[in-house]
Symmetry: C2
């Protein structure tokens, strides 16, 4: 745990002031005090952040690389976020653009335990893109959600995940709901032979998440969903270590826009901590991420860099009629998640799900 790692910030400012501003960030994200008041030579040489590069990106934006000491991270994912963006997140002229994650942190956090290969193996689908839909709306009782899950499974989807709004509410308690949905999907799997995975959404604090993950395991499930920016990165880190048999899908809730580049937060950091698949709002839906952002995010997730490849999951208002376009853009190492658009089919949802599965299976890449 020695040496430095490089963090890239995009800073709005003027050429005349950028050097001072860069030094300000280097101090804020390391010792957070006037360097002139530091007497300790080791702190001065090893701990104080260092400006490594300033590049004018045009339009009043500069890329600033700061070298931070790996030792300041300790072995905690929360502290990693604290060190790379904690106080600087309070400055509105700075975006956290990228981190060159060093091997020491890859070894420490471990990356995806299953990744694309592990998810494909669960489904017995070696090559084609993967399909998913979401159980909604919240407010339905467990029986209604389970019935919907069965209908979706009948269409042959690969993954059926809980909406991230499904938690442990009075109208559908986690344990009851997950039991019912797991049983419903299990029945369809036995009938169809296609090993559709039901993916419950876990929520709450570490104690509660642990109980929920344990219940998922007890029910024979092997994939779960969690929102790392809601539960905290340290919580994800702990869960992934404690439940290595589960594949972890990361939901982007509270991922923000613009202040942390999605390519970094969702594409790199969630996988670093063990997310096997990362859900993100794709271009072409109801969110505003550009093609370039989405492409970069998917590429980061798959690239690994000493880690297993994580599966990018394009979501957020995807529609069946755009399946071909979306798949051509992302390629086959992708999961396409269509939620609301499938749900519009009402009673015909199994047929519509099967049409979705057929479109993905039959897609011939450009």
């Amino acid at each position: 745990m020695s040496g430095r790692f490089s963090v890239t910030y995009h800073v709005r400012g003027s050429a005349a002031e950028i050097e001072a501003r860069a030094r300000g960030i280097a101090v804020e994200q390391s010792v957070e005090m006037p360097v002139a008041a530091i007497r300790d030579q080791t702190v001065l040489s090893e701990i104080v952040g260092r400006v490594e590069r300033i590049e004018d990106l045009g339009d009043g934006v500069f890329a600033v690389d700061i070298g931070l000491a790996v030792a300041t991270v300790g072995d905690d994912a929360g502290q990693l976020l604290n060190m790379v963006f904690g106080n600087t997140s309070l400055h509105d002229d700075v975006v956290l653009a990228d981190i060159a994650i060093p091997d020491s942190l890859v070894r420490l956090f471990g990356g995806p335990r299953h990744g694309i290969a592990g998810l494909r193996a669960r489904l017995g689908v070696p090559r084609r893109a993967l399909t998913a839909s979401a159980l909604k709306p919240q407010g339905l009782a467990s029986g209604g959600l389970a019935a919907l899950a069965a209908q979706m499974a009948r269409g042959g989807l690969d993954f059926i995940k809980d909406d991230h709004g499904l938690a442990d509410q009075s109208y559908a308690r986690f344990a009851e709901r997950v039991r019912a949905c797991a049983a419903a999907v299990g029945r369809e799997v036995r009938a169809s032979g296609h090993p559709t995975r039901y993916v419950p959404s876990l929520s709450g604090n570490l104690d509660q998440l642990r109980v929920q993950a344990g219940l998922a395991l007890d029910l024979g499930l092997d994939c779960v969903l969690v929102a790392p920016m809601i539960c905290g990165l340290a919580t994800l880190q702990a869960l992934v270590r404690e439940f290595p048999g589960l594949a972890w899908l990361a939901h982007p809730s509270m991922g923000g826009v613009g202040r942390i580049a999605p390519e970094l937060l969702i594409g790199k950091l969630f996988p670093l901590l063990g997310a096997d698949a990362v859900i993100f709002p794709s271009f072409g839906g109801r969110f505003g991420y550009s093609r370039r952002t989405c492409g970069g995010l998917a590429e980061n997730a798959r690239r690994g860099g000493g880690m297993r490849a994580a599966l990018p999951v394009a979501a957020g208002g995807m529609t069946l009629d755009r399946t071909g376009e979306i798949l051509d853009f992302y390629g086959p190492d992708t999961m396409l998640l269509i939620g609301g658009n499938l749900l519009m089919a009402g009673e015909r949802i199994s047929v519509e799900a099967a049409r979705f599965v057929g479109a993905v299976s039959g897609h011939v890449f450009e």
Copy 2:
């Protein structure tokens, strides 16, 4: 847990499109699917978010009030954040501006367990503003930090908190560091009679935080610091419940700028979950919050609204020469935290700390 609570978003857009956009947010933050595809009458009447008000604020910004169902929050603080801003945090035209926190959520989460009155009682300081400084830089060994803590305590400060960068790093392990600093401050307190509080910064996952909070209690400490946006709101919720004897200071790390109004996040939500004091970057330092934002944040923290009042802690580049101005702005129910500016005094830090204490004690409000 029935009924709705009102969430205010500030949305950039045009008058022609704001109604549709408002309905879009109401759906995104509740059922997250096409309303036309929902058959369940209870979901339609009780769960789907409702646009309650749209007000043109000028300059292309609209205030939109959405009524969300209290039932969707369950009893989890993470889920509260998920419901009020989870997916909408991914839309860059929306700022989460405010929440009218209903009594049911105040009862559920409980608010500050000690608040301003409890913190004042610990110090035996009924009226004047409170003083604090921060132990820095990280990278120092435990002995160096403890020596600094002793020097600061000798000046008569009320609170000496760890820098939020101090975690459980190899160069100063949490247990060793906190023991050393607690002992050093304890010796000064016995000598001076002024009950200075040493406030360790806790970090990691819930298991680790629990061990750290337990150690703090064992050492006779009764105030701790945590960063809710790093550890997760559900984690703070659990800690406050489990350690009701500790007073909890909230650090704003990863609090972002602009996407969640600081008046809400730091001024209302952290106290709702039990933060007794909230640290924030005040105007007049090295961060950009306006006077208006800072004033609103402090007012929200103190107002309580069925909860105990939480103590606003003005920080982030405060200097001794501005003590009078800052105190006149915030009034006496305030803690002023001066870190780096005191540390510039080097060996003279006890004298400088005493000067700070004298300036606050002797301040005559305008």
